[in-house]
Symmetry: C2
Subunit: 337 residues, 2 copies
C-alpha cells in the first residue's frame, strides 16, 4: 500500500528513498538529466558566463492565495537568475521533510513546482531529500538553486545605477507579504490577498530584447521595495527618489497594512522587480513590459538623482512632503518566504 | 553589543540580516564574487559542460569527531561533483537557522566551511539565510549546491560499469556513520570513532590524470557502500562481486556495529568513493591513489562479473560462503548527514 505520510525511512538512502524518488519526484519532474540519477546532473551550456544562486524557503503556511511553497521556491530562484540578465537553464531542489508530513501535501507542492517550472521553461535537474524526526522541522523546507547563462555583452548588477536612470516596477507591490499574512488562520482575516508570486524570466527576456540600457534589475523579495532600493543606492553610491503616488499598491494590501501597522514598501514581493534603465529608453521599455502578463501594471516610480557619498532613498509623499525610506527596521514578519 | 544568539530579525532581509552577512558570512567566505552581493553570483567557466548538484544536511549532533555539519556540507557537494569527474568551481550555502541558536556555534560551523573550502580550493560564491521560530527547526540545517566543469572527453556515470571492471575504494568504510552514532550522547559511547569526512576532489583529479579508463565513481554516502554498489549494478545492468576480506573496516567501526546490530556495509561515508576502472589500469590507479592523503588505504575490493538482466551484488564472505548484498532494508539511522 502506498505510504500516506513521510517516515524517517524515506530519508534513509535505501529502498524507500528510491520509492519516493520514483513515485513522486521523477513522476513530476521527469526529464532526461534528472533521470540519469548520478551524483550530479550533467549539463551542456550555451555560454561560459553563468549566474548561480540559492535560496531556502520556509514560508508558513505552506499554501496561500495564488501560490504555495513549491511555486515560491521555483520562482524565487528563477527570478534571481533573470534579474541578473541570465536565462535559467536548470534548477535543483533539496527537501527537508518532517516525519509525519502527509504525502498528499508533499505531492501538491511537487506538482506546483513542476507546473511553475514548465511555465518558465526550466527543468529541475537534481535534488535531495532529508527527513527529520517529528518536531524538528515544520512540515517542509525547500532549498532551490539555479544556474542560468548570461548573454555576451550583458552587464547588469547592483553597482551599475547611474544618475538619470529611471526606475520601473512591473506591478503593484506588497501582495506576496499580504497574501501570506492573510493566509495565517490565527490572524482571522476573512478576505485573502492574492500573492504576486510568478516566474519573471520571460518578461525579463523581452525587456532585454528592446534595450541594452538596463543597468540594474532586482527582485524585491524579503524587505520589500524599500530594501532593494536602499541596497542598490548603497552599491551604486547614488541617491534615489521615488514618488508615492506612482507606486502601485492594491487597496487590499493597503487595508492589511493599516490594520497591522505595516508599511507596504517593506512587504515582500515574489513577482516584482525594480529595473533601472537609462532615461532615454524608459518609455519604450515600459510599453514592452505592459505586453507581458506579469508587466501589465508596470509603472515608472522614480529615478536616480545623483551620485552620493551618503546614499539615500527619498520618498516624495502624496502630500508633497518627503521622507527617507530607510532599510527595514523594527519587527520583521517571520517566515514570509 | 554583538548579538549572542540568532533572532528572527536576522532573517528579515533588513539591517540585522545585513549585519549577519557582513560580520559572519563575508568575514569568513570573503571572495570577490560573493562580495558583489547581487541576486546571483556571476562566474566565468572554463568549459560549457558542467556538473550541478545539491544536498541538504541535517546531521545530529552538529559536531562529531573529525568534523561538523559545515565540513560535511562542503565536502558532500564537492564530492558529488568530483565523482562525476568535474572540477568544482563554486559552491552556494543556504542556512535555515533556529531562533535562539548560539552565534558562537554558527561561527564555528561557518569557520569550518571556510577551512574545508580552502583546503579543496573552492569558493563559496552565494548564500541565503532564513530563520524559523524556536521549536520549528533543529539548530541549523545547511543546503549546499555546487557546480563543476567537466573536462572534454570525460564520460563517467553510473551506467558505464562493464564486465571486467575492477572496483576500488579509497579507504576503510563506515567511519562517518559510526562517528555520528558515537557522538550522540544519549547512546553513552565513551570512545568516539573519527569520521572520514573529507574533500576528495584533489584525489580524484590525480586519479583522472593517470587513467582515462575510470567508468564509474560514486560517493558512498547515505546507505553506504552496499547501496551505491547496488545502484551502479542496476544502472549498468551488471552483476558485481566484492570480497569481504578485502573491504577495509576499522576495528572501532566493527565494534560499534556489533554493539548496535548494524552492518558496516550500510553505514554512511563522507570521504569514500567506489571507483570502477578497466582491469588493465587497476594496479596503476591503486598506486596513484595511495600517494594521496585520502587514498593511503585504498583497496581493490571486487569486480564486475558479467552483464545481467537481474543485477545483483554478491559478497564473498570471509568464511568462503557468499551472500546477496541488497539495498538498505530495515531501520535507517536518521540524521546521519
Amino acid at each position: 500500500m502506498k505510504q500516506l505520510a513521510v517516515t524517517l525511512n524515506h530519508g534513509s538512502g535505501g529502498g524507500m528513498s528510491r520509492e519516493l524518488i520514483d513515485t513522486l519526484f521523477k513522476k513530476y519532474f521527469n526529464n532526461p538529466v534528472l533521470n540519469e540519477m548520478n551524483d550530479a546532473a550533467v549539463l551542456e551550456l550555451s555560454s561560459k558566463k553563468i549566474a548561480f544562486t540559492t535560496d531556502s524557503f520556509v514560508v508558513r503556511p505552506l499554501f496561500f492565495e495564488g501560490g504555495d511553497i513549491g511555486k515560491l521556491a521555483v520562482c524565487g530562484t528563477i527570478n534571481d537568475l533573470a534579474a541578473m540578465g541570465a536565462k535559467p537553464v536548470g534548477i535543483t531542489a533539496a527537501f527537508i521533510l518532517e516525519e509525519g508530513l502527509e504525502m498528499a501535501i508533499l505531492e501538491n507542492v511537487v506538482r506546483s513546482m513542476k507546473e511553475t517550472a514548465d511555465q518558465a521553461g526550466v527543468s529541475i535537474v537534481a535534488g535531495d531529500t532529508k527527513v527529520v524526526e517529528r518536531g524538528n522541522a515544520d512540515g517542509v523546507f525547500i532549498t532551490t538553486s539555479g544556474i542560468g547563462v548570461i548573454p555576451d555583452g550583458l552587464n547588469i548588477g547592483g553597482a551599475m545605477a547611474r544618475p538619470g536612470d529611471v526606475i520601473i516596477v512591473n506591478g503593484p507591490i506588497g501582495c506576496h507579504g499580504a497574501a501570506v499574512i492573510t493566509a495565517r488562520e490565527e490572524l482571522g482575516f476573512k478576505t485573502r490577498v492574492r500573492s504576486d508570486v510568478a516566474p519573471l524570466n520571460k518578461l525579463i527576456e523581452n525587456m532585454l530584447r528592446v534595450t541594452d540600457k538596463i543597468h540594474v534589475m532586482r527582485d524585491a523579495t524579503r524587505g520589500g521595495l524599500a530594501t532593494v532600493l536602499n541596497e542598490i543606492a548603497l552599491q551604486s553610491r547614488v541617491d534615489i527618489e521615488v514618488h508615492e503616488r506612482q507606486i502601485p499598491i492594491e487597496d487590499s494590501v493597503r487595508g492589511v497594512c493599516e490594520l497591522l501597522g505595516l508599511d507596504p514598501f517593506y512587504l515582500a514581493n515574489e513577482g516584482r522587480i525594480a529595473a533601472f534603465v537609462h532615461e532615454s529608453e524608459a518609455n519604450q521599455l515600459l510599453e514592452e513590459m505592459k505586453n507581458n502578463e506579469y508587466g501589465k501594471e508596470a509603472q515608472i516610480i522614480g529615478r536616480v538623482v545623483d551620485n552620493s557619498s551618503k546614499p539615500m532613498v527619498i520618498l516624495k509623499t502624496a502630500g508633497r512632503g518627503s521622507r527617507v525610506l530607510d532599510i527595514l527596521a523594527g519587527e520583521p514578519l517571520p517566515r514570509i518566504c
